[in-house]
């Protein structure tokens, strides 16, 4: 059992787990990274990365059997042949929906860092202040200034492309050159800027896709194939495999153990410290224990809380961190799938080359500055313009040569955008253990009880109306608003359930992501979030993780934990 002792254990290998492993290993700690799923080796295991549509037996279309086996994935766009196998097995790992909750999980080394949207935005100063100002939930224990240097740090390493736009609402960072807007997006951006007197901005999206090579990480700049989700053989987007894992491995301090389902943290109630973890080996079903001085819990928001709920239950029935009464509560996501699209006249003599893996971003403008609405917080938009291809509506062409010709040429330009809105942290939106349903390994599963509240529903009206208004102001035609009835979880930005705060009575984690009742346990994934902002969250998890890891090592040296 000599090899079961480490300085640090990191549970999970996704975006935040990869950062924790890298930071801790680079600071000299012997680190064990536990991953519940299988290993995926960079480049070598991206077996579909060079496939084309015609290389798949069903041309990337899911079969009825896939729909049956993956009823949750089946609700969205994630079910296809090219990424099949990259999502949690729904038969082996079920969960219960008290209310509809779409939980999209990636159980393998790299987690959802291989399957993420890659939009990377800093939170702004107001995002950290809003709860306190508005009396919502609890105050964040940190401010923008606490995180700003860590944003700098993770942006430089992860490689974020974007422009410095000089807006308070979307703080600038350490950017590689932005991915270009196309001619129609530039034109619409200029018209919107003029029509709204500079209060609404169509910006180049900021992406964790690199536009310049990063030879020190063996990463090649984006080749504009738009096959990010197949794993990039160029390492052109940030993932655990392309970026943090190689750095961590290079130290010689990291051990990765796949097929390791953490069942609980081992807890010494006298010392109020975790002493390690217990795992089930997913392949042989044996139980093992690993010991460490500190534990980073980065199992993805809900699974991190699941681990806490199953830990120290002899002390607290609800598990470690449950003394706050907030463990499992305050589930958030970003509500979306509402916005507008329009047809663009002209530009028939313009087209594009390359498959840009992004588009534009419109930062929040509601409840910002002098603007006041009948709801709290705000939303941003992601969107893009393109010419329709062969899948355009061809109803008027019947069959034959004329139809074929019409489908072979690009159609007119279209532009569209969908809003991403902030969801307020609400105590009654929660997850909890269901002991009646067990997973393949006999472990209790999570039950979700989450719904939108009035604030989000009011916001959605603006999200549609404002999108239509901008397209109209840009002089576009055939403007179509849409609201596709968002269901919680589909934003795949699960947040909350073990929030940070200033008081152990109302929060699970302190200002350095330490569990109040076990200061050598750090939770730095989406679980820690006290509010949600409206921007994509992953960059903030990276910054919080690097910050917490630095603190953990210092505290360890001081003998504080």
């Amino acid at each position: 059992m000599a090899n079961n002792d480490y300085d640090a254990i990191v549970i999970g290998s996704g975006i935040s787990g990869g950062w924790a492993a890298k930071e801790l290993a680079e600071k000299g700690l012997k680190v064990l990274m536990l991953e519940r799923g299988r290993n995926i080796e960079h480049v070598k295991d991206y077996v579909n990365a060079h496939k084309e549509a015609w290389d798949y037996p069903h041309r990337d279309v899911p079969t009825q059997q896939m729909h049956l086996d993956y009823p949750v994935l089946s609700r969205g766009y994630q079910l296809n042949e090219s990424t099949f196998g990259m999502w949690a097995n729904e038969q082996e790992s079920p969960y219960v929906e008290k209310q509809p909750f779409t939980w999209i999980r990636g159980y393998h080394v790299g987690g959802r860092s291989l399957l993420w949207g890659r939009h990377s935005y800093r939170w702004n100063e107001e995002d950290f202040l809003a709860n306190a100002k508005e009396g919502v939930a609890v105050d964040w224990p940190i401010r923008y200034e606490d995180l700003a240097p860590w944003y700098d740090y993770v942006e430089r390493f992860a490689g974020i492309s974007g422009n410095r736009d000089g807006l308070d609402v979307l703080p600038d960072g350490q950017f590689l050159p932005a991915m270009e807007l196309n001619c129609v997006e530039k034109d619409v951006a200029a018209r919107v800027k003029k029509a709204f007197k500079g209060t609404r901005h169509i910006l180049n999206a900021r992406m964790a896709n690199i536009t310049k090579a990063m030879p020190e990480q063996n990463r090649v700049n984006c080749q504009y194939r738009r096959k990010c989700w197949l794993g990039c053989p160029f390492g052109a987007y940030f993932s655990t495999q392309s970026s943090t894992l190689p750095a961590a491995m290079k130290t010689g301090n990291l051990t990765v153990r796949p097929f390791s389902i953490v069942t609980r943290l081992l807890y010494d109630k006298d010392k109020k410290r975790a002493t390690g973890v217990e795992i089930i080996d997913a392949e042989n079903n044996q139980t093992y224990e690993y010991k460490s001085k500190i534990v980073f819990v980065n199992a993805s928001a809900f699974n991190s809380s699941w681990i806490l709920m199953n830990s120290a239950t002899d002390v607290w029935e609800g598990g470690l961190g449950s003394a706050s009464g907030e463990l499992g509560h305050n589930v958030m996501d970003h509500h979306f799938q509402v916005g507008a699209s329009a047809s663009v006249e002209g530009f028939e003599d313009r087209y594009y080359f390359g498959r840009r893996p992004t588009g534009f971003y419109i930062p929040r403008f509601r409840n910002w500055g002098d603007d006041k609405r009948n709801y709290l917080r705000g939303f941003g938009y992601q969107g893009g313009a393109s010419r329709s291809g062969w899948r355009k509506n061809i109803a008027e062409f019947g069959i034959g040569a004329e139809l074929k010709q019409a489908m072979s040429e690009p159609g007119g330009w279209q532009i569209g955008m969908t809003g991403f809105g902030e969801i307020l942290p609400v105590h009654k939106n929660r997850i909890y253990l269901n002991h009646d349903v067990k997973d393949k390994w006999g472990l209790p599963v999570l039950e979700m009880d989450v719904a939108l509240t009035e604030n989000e529903l009011k916001m959605r009206k603006d999200m549609q109306q404002d999108a239509m208004e901008m397209l109209e102001a840009a002089g576009l035609k055939e403007i179509r608003g849409f609201d596709a009835d968002y269901k919680p979880g589909t934003g795949i930005h699960e947040m909350g359930t073990a929030r940070m705060g200033r008081d152990p009575k109302t929060s699970v984690l302190n200002s350095h992501n330490q569990v109040w009742d076990a200061p050598n346990v750090f939770v730095t994934d989406g679980a820690c979030m006290t509010s949600a902002s409206c921007v994509n969250p992953s960059l903030t998890y990276m910054a919080l993780t690097a910050r917490a890891a630095s603190y953990a090592v210092e505290a360890l040296k001081r003998g504080d934990i």
Binding site: A53, P57, H58, Y351, W390
Partner: protein
Amino acid sequence: MERRELLKLIAAATGTAFVGGAAFAYEQRAAVNLHDTGFSELDVAFLNEVGDVILPKTDTPGAKEANVGAMMVVFAADCYTASERQAFRDGLTQLNSYSKEKLNKDFLLLTAEQKLQLLTGLDTEARRYNAEHGVYRNETARPDSQNRASPVPVPHYFTLFKQLTLYSFFTSQIGATKVLRYSAIPGRYDGDMPYQKGDRAWAT
């Protein structure tokens, strides 16, 4: 008609010898064997003929060259719901009956002009049928429907043939690279590239 004779007939009519020939190149890559689809080589050949009327060879290759029939039966077998699959299967004989009824001949024996005329009429009928039965199906939609608690009504069989022809063709290597344009590794992005009428669209 005997199967052997029909095969000969198709070979004669189309100039394609498909028994064991390279015309089924798709199958060399396919993880799905025709045997497992529940459809026959005859069905595939028939669908290639139908597909080639919908997307004929012009100055670029047509549906038959892309062997859309082989792909269509895979979609029908694995991606369609049971009721869609049944409508698709029944459609194979219904289309031939329609041909006999309208032109007094098996579909495969029609001239190219007659085939176009017949299927243009059938396309119109299919739209009318769909409208009357409250079916909306985007003809270029992805050919999988979810098994829902309340199944949506199934479109006219010709709409299914058309949808699968279009999808099978434009996602094929021939369709994507010889009829549309495709660049495997663009390497850069140009958001303001000149375009002239007649230039082909990107496949994806």
